[in-house]
């Protein structure tokens, strides 16, 4: 039966603070023959590292590759890659630093951008499948224990529990889809006329 034996080559990349990152490059694709009985190796092929293996696999280990997926950068290519391309957290930290700096220093001037970002984020995260409306509770401005309007919740999707209503709802969806498609085509014609129909704005 064919098995595979492996060896590991270790690389070190130094950065400017004399600190280094170590990454291993494991080869697990050197086939050898072994006989296993009752879960123990009874006899095996040549497991020592020989010159032929070195000539065959060492160039690959030295050349290496850029990171892909979860695998780290390896070899010379990985080293060059790390030299030019910052790690994945760099840009996040970089813009977070800017954000913190502008929030602290520019306060009221930077606030509209923060609010706009928050607004766009909220629009992006609207879950249209959650068709529940809930309003309240609203408390008295002077006393948090007095409830002026209690929590009101209504789930619109509960209409679809009734099969006939669900059928009608689907028909309604179809009608609205048609309406939107018609509107989209009309918008396309409008834009076409605006651009090629002589309008300058």
């Amino acid at each position: 039966m064919n098995y595979y034996r492996g060896y590991t080559l270790e690389f070190k990349v130094w950065d400017n603070s004399n600190d280094y990152t170590t990454f291993d490059y494991a080869y697990e694709f050197i086939p050898y023959t072994a006989v296993i009985e009752n879960g123990e190796i009874v006899s095996s092929g040549d497991t020592t590292f020989n010159g032929q293996d070195l000539a065959q696999y060492l160039p690959q280990a030295i050349i290496g590759s850029a990171p892909s997926g979860d695998s780290p950068p390896t070899g010379i290519i990985g080293g060059i890659y790390s030299l030019f391309v910052p790690d994945s957290t760099f840009f996040t930290n970089y813009f977070n630093d800017f954000n913190t700096f502008l929030t602290e220093r520019y306060g009221i001037l930077y606030q509209p951008f923060t609010i706009l970002y928050d607004l766009l984020n909220r629009i992006n995260n609207i879950d249209f499948t959650d068709q529940e409306i809930s309003i309240g509770p609203f408390y008295a401005p002077t006393d948090d224990t007095i409830v002026l309007i209690p929590l009101i919740t209504f789930d619109f999707s509960s209409f679809d529990d009734e099969p006939k209503v669900a059928y009608l709802h689907n028909l309604y969806y179809l009608l609205v889809d048609g309406f939107f498609i018609f509107g989209l085509i009309k918008l396309c014609f409008h834009e076409y006329n605006k651009i090629f129909g002589g309008a300058k704005k």
Binding site: P86, I126, E191, I195
Partner: protein
Amino acid sequence: MILSTIMNMFKSIMFFLMGGLSLPSLDQSLLDSLNDFFNLIFSNAGVIGFFIRPSTLHLLIPVVIAIIVFDRGYFLIMWIINKIPFLGMD
């Protein structure tokens, strides 16, 4: 490493140039009220999905935005092309 060094230098220069100002933030109660208002609107905005099919919304919103801004992009490109004399486009 090279790119990150250049970007860090840029950041330090920007922080140095822009660091002279220190403005106060908006009043926290105003921000809280705004946040409550946004919460009220956007936690209930999913109900639009009952009136318009969610997949239609997801498809239509980017398409409509693209069509609306298309003419601006077109005029910008034509303006740039008109600036290139040897193309001879008016």
